[in-house]
Each structure stands twice: as structure tokens, then as C-alpha cells.
């Protein structure tokens, strides 16, 4: 039977919001002004049913006659230039499964396959081929996952014959052949390739493709953290491996709250009343660089699964996102070949995070966006997730021999093959072509179902161990879970999205939304029943043995048989040379601005400072009903808070705080002090809302250029900074991730990102009622500046960046004083003495003041002392400094007598910021003007 096509459009008098949004972009992003209208139609295709049945489905499911009409097997968009955009075959369209389900619910029989796509019709004098090509290329079609449909497909059913397992003759390869085998695929170096060769020589056989791929992904930088485990020689001196340094610092902190650090899929700390909370922050830079929507989606989905797969199963309660891009205003000509424009990337990445988090029902409520032109080849896309579980279920479980290896959730397709190895390699202009299979479109509903089922199984004590299928797929999940026992896998049992996968592809596919559990055979029926009740597919894929071997069988044929010890410990430890050279310091501080008010406006409009409200509005930050301090508040609901506080256990007053800090620009100047700044900023954000410093744990994310000796030198300094921070404050890192491949290389062009250390802080708060927001509360309050800073340390600040000043005098945070400041500020807030508090970061004291004014619907007067340089006073960005609103002057000494503190001004009813120096007014400016400048940049990017 042929394919039936149903097309659905809105009636003419009903707005077509999809068309309107595209038209806005055509006009504003592409600058094409004479396309006047865009109309869209949804296209549905069905295989296996007749035209009458298609009509029933169209009438009862696809089209709503109140405002839509449909056509069957004929066009519906008339006159204009019509193009259809669909997912490529093999990219699973999540909507197809829903259509099949619903058709079955309607009693439709015989339907074999369904698909959906969208048609666009362009009208107006500009609706010509050339312009439409541009629209397709720049806005509508990402070649990685999408295509233009030119003719009706013959079939929707994907067919394929399973590939065979190939033996790779590594034993007789010379070095150049080994390198050729590794290139673009395995991403291993020659030493590592030789170790593999030697192993199989000793075994007296050649490996299968499955074995080579398994080794490559387990030994990838992504999974093996080779750089972080390597012995380092820094400027000729041997130093402890980076990972060990961090872990030792955590151990030495002996923080009693730590329940699980660096051993599980996320770090776990104690909460209250028998609960534990956990956190994990991941990066998804490589996929997001080539397919930002799918890349960001799978980033979110992956980090949620990390939390779900912690202990014996956790519930995800917070999602965070931190991004670094090139400025959205970047000239198109500056975008390197093989890369996408930052504005497109930003919007698509936000859409990916939005669609995954919102649909899973996880509040995305903490995040930031940072800009630097050296992110133009490869952005940094950082996504975090936090969870809660019973304390008795919070430690990583382990299987016993005889336990079943059960996989639940989504099916396996050819998605993300080589994701682990791909993200460990440098990006080149070949990246998009060679690695397009590394991206897929996530299905958050699949993951939500799996989460519902997992939590019930966990609650009922049926889960012995659980982990997610992330990078490396089954291979990585089972290889790790069975490390101590050994595991045997029957690969043909894996449910597939479509036929035709080779065994090694099934084994290493990174299809999302899959979890692996170890289940006692006696409990399998119960687990199976739970999964069925949530519409979750579950199969027994294998069993844990006792022979410490990783054995994979496909239809009776052994396709992989490796020693667990060789797999996990066979990787040779690297010895790496590191050497960091300070950058040449350019001109120092730019001096005072010509026009004070104008400078203030410019700082507020700088992309690092400006309001990110349009992004936040698209995230459901209120779902789960747990919010106790939202990301935005204040009289107009647009004033940002430093951290988010949630109360995840209903009816209880205790809460959880989440915050973060990063500053790539500072790391470019000095990675040690830049990293101290990041950690200080993360913690300052949490303390500013009322968190106690003794109740916080940290997560590190290093996103670095490819570690040549110079970048490695910078990394070494950043890790030292982290260890020193832990030593001085007692706050431990309990989870972390490194992604060391953010270098772009293409015939003569070399672009390294500014090194990013993102520090996330999370912790517990005894009483959410004792927390504060950043909006000014009352007129006539005293504003105090609390914290130590040398305001001449201006390098890396927004003020300097705007003037092109590139000095080396960056903020050097004094950790000893910092600890005192954190302690005293916490005591003041917990004692109910602080009306509002805001931490100083990008944009300095001036930006912080402005945001507090916006939230309070009022203004302030500020006095700068004669000894201060006004532009330094206003725009210095030393972290660990706070603006604190207090009712009365005398409390300042009582609360902050032991730490650096001064009264800088007071709040006033007029919506003005007035700045005085030496008793004379230096300048004044209306807060409305500042707010307008602060809101405009992201409004322009997101068209809101």
C-alpha cells in the first residue's frame, strides 16, 4: 500500500506562530526584508493504511477543526514557494511513536510506520530561490540531522541487514598503519595503540572491531581522563597527577557531609531527615558545536541520567546551564569553516536545554552565559543536574555474580557512535563530515518514563546497582558495572530502533534514555512488571559472572572477550610536560570614562552583564513546586538572585542551594587566580543568599584547549587553585569532569578557547526562611560593601574589556580573609539582620547596585571616598565582595566589625543612582535607562 500524506494548516484568520517566528528571523537575523509572510503546515505520512483510515486519523488526532484544516495526498499551502524540512532517515523523530500509539488507541489497524515533518511557504517579492536557500541553510536545516524533502518517500520503514564482525589485523600493522586506524575514529596515540597490539600478540589472535572500539572508548580522554591521571612534569618539576591532587584535597578536608565523592555518577552529600542530595555537572561541547539543539538536549538528558544513576537511583530536582559563546554580534566572516554562528548556536542550545528540562519536569533555575570571541569555533556548553535520594540508597551499589544486567528505556540505534572518542579529539573542519553520527535528537518523555520506573524499583529495594548509558553506551556501562565481577552479554537481545546495526555498533551506540541495572534474578519479574506499568521497555541483556571478563556474544558468536583488568588498568599512564608562560601584558587600566553615565550604560549592556531574562523565561523554573528563592524576583520580577534555593521535601523548612562561578577571561590572564575567582564566585553566590559555608560542596568542570604543554601548564595552575581553595575553606570538591579538546585546527588556523573552570556549589540550608534575595527592600536602608578587594586589580573586568585594556593586574583573592567574610555574612543573614544581599561579579559594584535597584523599584546614593579611583571603585570585579542592605548604620560594626567593610551609601525612593565623590555629585542616572540598556541585548538575540 502506498504512503498516505496528511497536511494540516491553521485557518487563514488564525496566527501561524511558527511562521511568524521564522519571519522574524528572516528579517532580523538574515536581514531579508521583502519576504512578507511565512505560512507553515505539518506533514504526516503513514504507511500501511488506506486513504479513509488516514482521514480518520487526520480528523480525530492531527487536525482540530476549530482552527485548522487538513488535506489528504495533496498540497495545502498554495501559491507561495513551498519547501519541506524533515529529519534525516535514521534520526528518530520522537513524535512518530506518539502518532503510532494514538492511532492504535483510535483502533487503527495495519499502520506500519508514521512520520512527521513541516512545510514552509514563503510569500512576497523576496520569496525567490536565492533567499529561500539562505533561509534553509542558515535557519531551517541543520545538515547533520535534517534535510529538505524533494519527493514523496517510497517507504518509511528502515531496513538493513546486520553487519558482520570484522577482525582487525593489528598484529602485523606497522606504526603508520596503527596511526591510520586510530585517526578520526579511535583517537588513541601511538603508545596506546602499541599496548593494544602487544596485548593481542600475547593472546595470539587479532582483535575484533568490537574489542578495538571497546578499548578505544574506555581509554578515551572522555572516559579515561588520561590527562588528569597523568604524571606531570611542570617546568621540569615532577608533580602529583591532577585528579589525585583534587581528591587528596577533598580527603584532607575531612568534611563530614560528604557521602560519596568521585566514585559514582555524581557526588553525594548529606541532607536532612535521612535524605541525601547529589550533584553532577557535565559538558557537551563537541556535539553542541555541530548540532546545537540535539547536542544540548542530549547534554541535559545525559546529566539527568547521571543523577538518576547515582547510588541506587535518585530523583532529579534541579537543572543548571552555563554557556560560553562568541559574541552574538560576531561578523559572519569571522566564523571558521565547519562552524556555526554563535547567535544560532546560543538560540538552539537554549532551545535544547529548554525542551529537555521542561518536558522531563526538572526546574532549570541556575545558569549564566559568557562571551569571548575565541569561543567562535567551539562553544562551551555546561549542563548540571542535582538530585535527592534516601541516604540508605545513596551509595554506589555493586552486582554479585549471578545478578542480571537489565537495560531499561529507549531503544538502540546508530546514534552517537564514537561520541566518547569524538569528544576527546580536536575539532577540525572535517569534524562535521566525519562525525555526523555523533548527534541525535533526545526524547525526554522516554527518559521521564524510565525515571518513574527506576524510582519505584529503587524505592522497593529491587535495584542492586544502576548506571546510565552515556558515552560508550552498553560497553561503558556494563564494562564499569561488571569491573569487579565480569559480565556476559547477549547482544542480540538489545531492542533496536531499526535493523542493520553491526554488533560493535549496538555495543557502543550512545542512544539516549537508557539505564542499566543489576537485579537479583529473584526480583526480575517485579522489575519487569514495574517497567511495563510505566510503558518502559526492559530486557535482560546479560548476567554478571565471576570470571572478571567482559564477554559479548551476538547470536552465538563471541564478538568481544577482554580481561577486565586489561580494559580498566591496561592503559599506560602518560607522562606529560607542562609549562605555562604568562601572556604579554598589554596596556594597563584605561582611565576614567569621558561620560560616566554612558560608561555605566555600556557596562550594563555588555553581553557578560546584561539580563538573561529571555532565556530564563523559556525554562520552567517553577515545576516541582519546590522554589524557595527563584532565579528572578523583585517588584517587576526581573531582578536576578545570586543562587537558587529549593525546598525539595514538601512540608519541611530545610532547603538546598545551587550556584556557580566561572570567568574564562581571567583564566586567559592567569589560570591560578582566574580559577580562585571561579571558586570564590560560586561560593559567594551561595553565601549571598544565606547558605552556610560549612554546608557546601563543590563540583569542578575543566573545559580546556587540547592539552599541549602550555595549556597543560594552565590546567596545572587551575587545579592548584582548586586544591588551595579547598584547603583554605574546607569545602570539598565531590564531583568533576574534564573536557580537554576545545581547540580548533584547520589549515593554518588555530583557535584555542580561553580555559574555562566552572565551579558549581551546592549545599543544604537548615531553614529557607533565613535566606535573602538581592532586591532592595526599603528606602533609607544602609548599603555596606563587605569583603576585601584591591580595587586597582582591574584586569579582565568588563570595564577593561570594553576599553580593550589587557593588563595583567587581575583580582588576587585573599583566601584567609575570604573565609572570615563568608562566616560573618552567613551569621548576619541567618540572624535575620540582612534585608538584601548581592555578590559583586561581572560589571562590578555598579552593576550589582543597579540590579538591586531594579528589584526594589527604588534608587540609591553612593559616596566614593577621595582615596578611591572612581572607575575602579565602581567596576572592579573581585569576587568575594558583597553589597549588603541593612536597616541601620550601627549594625554594620556589630555584624562586620572583624572583616573589611564600609558603608557606601543608602537607598532612596527616587529611581536614580546618584554617585558622589568628595561631597560633590560625580554623576547620576535613571535606573530605567540602565534597565533598558541591560535588557536590550538578549531581547535582540531572542526576539522577545
Amino acid at each position: 500500500m502506498s504512503i498516505q500524506e496528511v497536511r494540516v494548516v491553521n485557518l487563514p484568520d488564525i496566527p501561524d506562530t511558527v511562521g511568524e517566528a521564522l519571519l522574524y528571523d528572516i528579517c532580523h537575523t538574515l536581514g531579508i526584508k521583502d519576504i512578507t509572510t511565512v505560512r507553515t503546515a505539518k506533514v504526516y505520512r503513514f504507511e500501511g493504511i488506506d486513504v479513509n483510515t488516514a482521514r480518520v486519523i487526520a480528523d480525530r488526532l492531527l487536525s482540530e477543526s476549530l482552527y485548522q484544516k487538513f488535506s489528504i495526498n495533496k498540497p495545502i499551502l498554495m501559491d507561495g514557494e513551498v519547501v519541506e524540512v524533515a529529519y534525516k532517515p535514521g534520526v528518530m523523530n520522537p513524535e512518530a511513536a506518539s502518532i503510532l500509539k494514538s492511532a492504535a488507541d483510535l483502533g487503527v489497524q495495519g499502520l506500519q510506520a508514521a512520520d512527521s515533518s513541516r512545510e514552509y511557504a514563503f510569500y512576497g517579492p523576496g520569496a525567490v530561490r536565492e533567499n529561500i536557500e539562505k533561509v534553509l541553510q542558515k535557519l531551517l536545516v541543520n545538515d547533520i540531522v535534517e534535510r529538505v524533502v524533494n519527493r514523496k518517500p517510497k517507504t518509511l520503514i528502515m531496513e538493513g541487514r546486520p553487519g558482520v564482525t570484522v577482525t582487525i589485523p593489528v598484529r602485523k600493522m606497522d606504526d603508520s598503519q596503527l596511526i591510520e586506524l586510530s585517526r578520526d575514529k579511535l583517537f588513541l596515540n601511538i603508545d596506546e595503540m602499541r599496548v593494544i597490539q602487544r596485548y593481542f600478540m600475547e593472546l595470539g589472535r587479532d582483535p575484533t572491531d568490537c574489542e578495538v572500539e571497546t578499548l578505544a572508548q574506555t581509554w578515551s580522554e572522555h572516559c579515561g581522563h588520561k590527562t588528569f591521571r597523568a604524571d606531570l612534569v611542570v617546568n621540569g618539576q615532577r608533580k602529583v597527577p591532577l585528579l589525585k591532587r583534587l581528591q587528596e584535597a577533598t580527603r584532607n578536608s575531612a568534611n563530614p557531609l560528604v557521602l560519596s565523592a568521585f566514585v559514582d555518577n555524581s557526588g553525594v552529600m548529606a541532607f536532612y531527615d535521612g535524605w541525601a542530595i547529589c550533584g553532577k555537572v557535565e559538558t557537551h561541547n563537541s556535539p553542541s558545536a555541530i548540532e546545537p539543539y540535539g547536542g544540548a538536549m542530549t547534554g541535559s538528558g545525559g546529566v539527568f541520567r547521571d543523577v538518576m544513576g547515582t547510588g541506587r537511583g535518585a530523583r532529579v530536582i534541579v537543572s543548571t546551564d552555563m554557556f560560553c559563546f562568541a559574541p552574538p554580534t560576531l561578523d559572519t566572516g569571522e566564523v571558521p569553516p565547519g562552524c556555526l554562528h554563535p547567535k544560532y548556536l546560543l538560540r538552539k542550545v537554549v532551545a535544547g536545554v529548554r525542551d529537555y528540562g521542561n518536558r522531563m519536569g526538572i526546574p532549570t533555575n541556575n545558569g549564566s552565559v559568557h562571551f569571548h570571541e575565541d569561543f567562535r569555533a567551539k562553544p562551551s556548553v555546561i549542563v548540571g543536574a542535582y538530585g535527592i535520594m534516601r541516604e540508605d540508597l545513596c551509595r554506589k551499589g555493586s552486582p554479585d555474580p549471578g545478578d542480571l544486567a537489565v537495560v531499561i528505556g529507549g531503544r538502540t540505534g546508530r546514534d552517537g557512535i564514537h561520541g566518547a572518542t569524538f569528544s576527546s579529539g580536536e575539532m577540525t573542519d572535517r569534524t562535521i563530515d566525519v562525525n555526523s553520527s555523533a548527534v541525535q535528537i533526545g526524547n525526554p518523555i522516554e527518559e521521564k518514563r524510565a525515571s518513574d520506573a527506576l524510582l519505584e524499583a529503587s524505592e522497593r529495594g529491587l535495584v542492586k546497582a544502576v548506571t546510565d548509558c552515556g558515552a560508550g553506551g552498553f560497553g561503558s556501562a556494563l564494562g564499569e558495572m561488571g569491573q569487579e565481577t565480569g559480565v556476559q552479554v547477549w547482544l542480540e537481545r538489545a531492542p533496536l530502533k531499526y535493523p542493520g546495526l553491526s554488533p560493535w555498533e549496538i555495543w557502543l551506540s550512545e542512544s539516549q534514555e537508557r539505564m542499566v541495572m543489576a537485579i537479583d534474578p529473584a526480583n526480575w519479574e517485579k522489575v519487569s512488571e514495574i517497567c511495563r506499568s510505566y510503558n518502559v521497555e526492559a530486557v535482560v541483556l546479560g548476567a554478571f559472572t565471576g570470571d572478571k571478563r567482559l564477554k559479548v556474544i551476538y547470536n552465538g558468536e563471541t564478538v568481544c572477550d577482554l580481561d577486565m583488568d586489561f580494559l580498566h588498568d591496561g592503559l599506560p599512564q602518560r607522562v606529560l610536560e607542562a609549562c605555562w608562560k604568562p601572556p604579554e601584558a598589554g596596556c594597563a587600566v584605561p582611565g576614567p570614562p569621558g561620560d560616566w553615565a554612558e560608561a555605566f550604560l555600556k557596562v550594563m549592556a555588555h553581553p557578560d552583564v546584561c539580563s538573561k531574562e529571555p532565556i530564563l523565561r523559556m525554562y520552567d523554573h517553577g515545576v516541582q513546586g519546590s522554589s524557595a528563592l527563584p532565579p528572578l524576583a523583585g517588584v517587576d520580577g526581573d531582578s536576578p538572585n545570586d543562587a537558587v534555593v529549593i525546598a525539595p521535601v514538601y512540608g519541611k523548612d530545610f532547603g538546598m542551594v545551587v550556584s556557580h562561578g566561572l570567568n574564562p577571561a581571567l583564566n586567559n590572564i592567569n589560570p591560578y587566580y582566574g580559577s580562585l575567582w571561579a571558586a570564590t564566585e560560586a561560593v559567594s553566590n551561595a553565601v549571598a543568599v544565606g547558605a552556610g559555608p560549612e554546608n557546601l560542596c563543590l563540583i569542578d568542570n575543566f573545559i580546556w584547549p587540547y592539552p599541549d604543554s602550555e595549556s597543560l601548564g594552565a590546567l596545572d595552575m587551575a587545579v592548584d587553585a582548586c586544591a588551595d581553595f579547598v584547603g583554605a575553606t574546607g569545602m570539598p570538591f565531590i564531583s568533576g569532569k574534564d573536557s580537554l579538546s576545545s581547540t580548533y585546527r584547520n589549515s593554518g588556523t588555530l583557535i584555542k578557547i580561553p580555559p574555562v573552570l566552572c565551579v558549581s556549589a551546592f549545599g543544604r540550608i537548615e531553614d529557607i526562611k533565613k535566606t535573602v534575595s538581592a532586591d532592595f527592600k526599603k528606602c533609607g536602608s544602609v548599603i555596606a560593601l563587605v569583603g576585601k578587594r584591591d580595587s586597582t586589580e582591574m584586569a579582565g573586568s568588563v570595564y577593561c574589556k570594553m576599553a580593550g585594556a589587557t593588563g595583567a593586574n587581575l583580582p588576587r583573592i585573599d583566601l584567609k580573609v575570604l573565609k572570615e567574610v563568608f562566616g560573618d555574612l552567613h551569621t548576619a543573614i541567618a540572624g535575620g539582620n540582612v534585608l538584601s544581599c548581592h555578590d559583586i561579579s561581572e560589571g562590578g559594584l555598579a552593576a550589582a547596585l543597579a540590579e538591586m535597584c531594579f528589584g526594589g523599584g527604588m534608587g540609591c546614593m553612593v559616596s566614593i571616598e577621595d582615596s578611591d579611583v572612581p572607575e575602579e571603585f565602581l567596576y572592579n570585579e573581585t569576587a568575594g565582595n558583597f553589597l549588603v542592605e541593612l536597616s541601620e548604620e550601627k549594625s554594620v560594626k556589630e555584624l562586620f566589625g572583624n572583616v573589611p567593610c564600609r558603608i557606601i551609601g543608602k537607598t532612596i525612593p527616587e529611581r536614580m543612582i546618584k554617585v558622589f565623590r568628595g561631597g560633590k555629585e560625580l554623576f547620576k542616572i535613571e535606573t530605567e535607562a540602565l534597565r533598558e540598556a541591560w535588557k536590550r541585548p538578549m531581547r535582540e538575540v531572542f526576539g522577545s
Binding site: 488564525i14 496566527p15 506562530t17 511558527v18 511568524e20 517566528a21 480525530r60 488526532l61 492531527l62 482540530e64 476549530l66 482552527y67 520522537p94 513524535e95 506518539s98 502518532i99 500509539k101 494514538s102 488507541d105 483510535l106 483502533g107 529548554r354 521542561n358 518536558r359 522531563m360 519536569g361 526524547n443 525526554p444 518523555i445 521521564k448 518514563r449 506499568s533 510505566y534 510503558n535 530564563l616 523565561r617 523559556m618 520552567d620 523554573h621 517553577g622 515545576v623 516541582q624 513546586g625 519546590s626 522554589s627 524557595a628 527563584p630 523583585g634 517588584v635 520580577g637 525546598a647 514538601y650 512540608g651 529557607i768 526562611k769 535573602v772 532586591d775 527592600k777 538584601s836 522577545s944
Partner: protein, 258 residues
């Protein structure tokens, strides 16, 4: 006896826990019920006095928001649901639940399969999450007893919330006092202005009920404001009670009086 509430969920429901909590605080006894349990006969709607359809993205909101679940309910639970509402038991649909109610026909005419109004893409074309003001209209609705005339603060979080119906149906809803909530300014004046009216709903309609006042559907999330500390500005001292809780209490009180 505490009234029993069926929190009806399925794949992609994600406001079930907070809806459960809201009814619990209001004095009800709640059960999480997956639609599969009703389809298989393992549980029955007749075991409950109230049905709540929570927010979320049922089946990913594929095709139209709430549509796949609406088709499922219409195909398999038509009689059970019709009996439930015909016997005078309250039903509330919040956000995605509202979308499901209009796509089953339970709103506005309390008749399964009779679809008279819809919720379509926000005029902004975007999903949006923000706190807005709602004017509580004088209506038949039992969920808003004692709230009439108030302006309440509440969060919306949706991409498909623009209420739309034909002219006759709109007139019927207006004349029959079935408009329960309208998007409004701080002063309680209904408005079409964005972002006060976050989606462009006709007549600023945020929630409606059926002719008995027992079936309520609304886009905003009252279950997210059942404790003072959930409001973004409780620290500013302007909030003396959680505005959403009364909606749930009214339903519970109504059942107690039955």
C-alpha cells in the same frame, strides 16, 4: 473521611507530585494513578471523589498539547469519565490537564468527544514561565468559592495556552458565568497586554468551568503556590497567604459536604 483524589498521570506528566501535595495540604487523601491502571481495570475512577489532571507534557505534547492523552481517555475511559462528571464529582485540569480536558470535551460542555474550544500556541510563539496576576471572576465554579473578586498571584509555564473558541461558544461561556479566571493587571483589570496576558487568550481567559461549576480547567499553576515561601517576593512582606491553596480546599470542602 478525607475525600479521595485520583491524581491521574501518564508518560510525561510532571506536575503530579506538587498537585498531590496541594490536595494533601487541603485535607484530601491522594493516590497517584497511571492511566494504564485504569485501562487494565486494576483501579477504577469510581474509587475516587475528585480527579486531578496535573500539568506536564503528556506523551511529549506531540501533535497537539494533551491530544494523545485525550484520545486515549476518549477511546478507553469515555464512560467512566462521563459517569464521574455526571454524578457531580469535581474534576480539575491544570495546564496540560486543562489542555486534555478541552480535547476530551469535558470542558466546556461536560461531554466526552464534543470539542468546542481549544488552547493553541502562545501568541509569542514561545514557552514562557512567569508570575502573573489573575482576576477571580464571579462564576459557577465551586473551586473558587470565597475568592470571587480577588486578584491573585500565580505562575504560568506553558507554550500552548492561548484560549480560543468560536464566537457563539465565547458568548455562552461569558453569559453563563463560566469564565473563572482572567489574566489581569496588578489592579485586577483583565487585559490583552503582554506579558500580563502571557499567551493572547481571547477575553483574557485563563480558566473556565462547565455549566455545573464542577469541572475546572486553567493554564496557571495553583499547586505551585500552596505555601507562602513559594512566592518569588515573600521576602518583600506582601504575601500573607498562599493564593493557590484555596482552589484545592474548596474542592475538598465541596466533597465533604456531599
Amino acid at each position: 473521611m478525607k475525600p479521595r483524589v485520583c491524581i491521574l498521570r501518564t508518560d510525561g506528566t510532571n506536575c503530579d507530585m506538587e498537585t498531590f501535595q496541594a490536595f494533601k495540604m487541603a485535607g484530601a487523601q491522594c493516590s497517584m494513578v497511571h492511566v494504564n491502571q485504569l485501562r487494565s481495570g486494576e483501579d477504577s475512577l469510581s474509587n475516587y471523589q475528585i480527579i486531578a489532571l496535573p500539568g506536564g507534557f503528556s506523551y511529549g505534547d506531540d501533535v497537539h498539547s494533551g491530544k494523545i492523552l485525550a484520545v486515549e481517555l476518549t477511546s478507553f475511559l469515555k464512560e467512566g469519565l462521563q459517569e464521574f462528571v455526571d454524578s457531580g464529582k469535581p474534576v480539575i485540569g491544570i495546564c496540560n490537564g486543562f489542555q486534555v480536558l478541552v480535547r476530551t470535551g469535558l470542558l466546556p460542555e461536560r461531554k466526552m468527544g464534543d470539542i468546542r474550544c481549544t488552547l493553541m500556541n502562545n501568541d509569542s510563539g514561545r514557552f514562557e514561565c512567569r508570575w502573573i496576576n489573575l482576576k477571580v471572576e464571579e462564576s459557577r465554579c465551586i473551586f473558587t468559592r470565597g475568592m470571587t473578586g480577588q486578584t491573585i498571584s500565580i505562575q504560568v509555564a506553558h507554550g500552548e495556552g492561548k484560549f480560543y473558541a468560536g464566537r457563539e461558544q465565547m458568548e455562552l461561556l461569558e453569559n453563563d458565568s463560566r469564565v473563572v479566571f482572567r489574566y489581569s493587571t496588578e489592579n485586577g483589570d483583565p487585559t490583552m497586554d503582554y506579558p500580563y496576558n502571557p499567551n493572547g487568550s481571547l477575553n483574557a481567559i485563563a480558566g473556565i468551568c462547565d455549566s455545573t461549576g464542577l469541572v475546572l480547567g486553567l493554564m496557571p499553576h495553583p499547586e505551585r503556590f500552596v505555601s507562602v515561601y513559594q512566592h518569588p517576593n515573600w521576602r518583600r512582606g506582601a504575601i500573607d497567604y498562599p493564593h493557590g491553596l484555596l482552589v484545592f480546599k474548596n474542592a475538598v470542602d465541596y466533597c465533604r459536604g456531599m
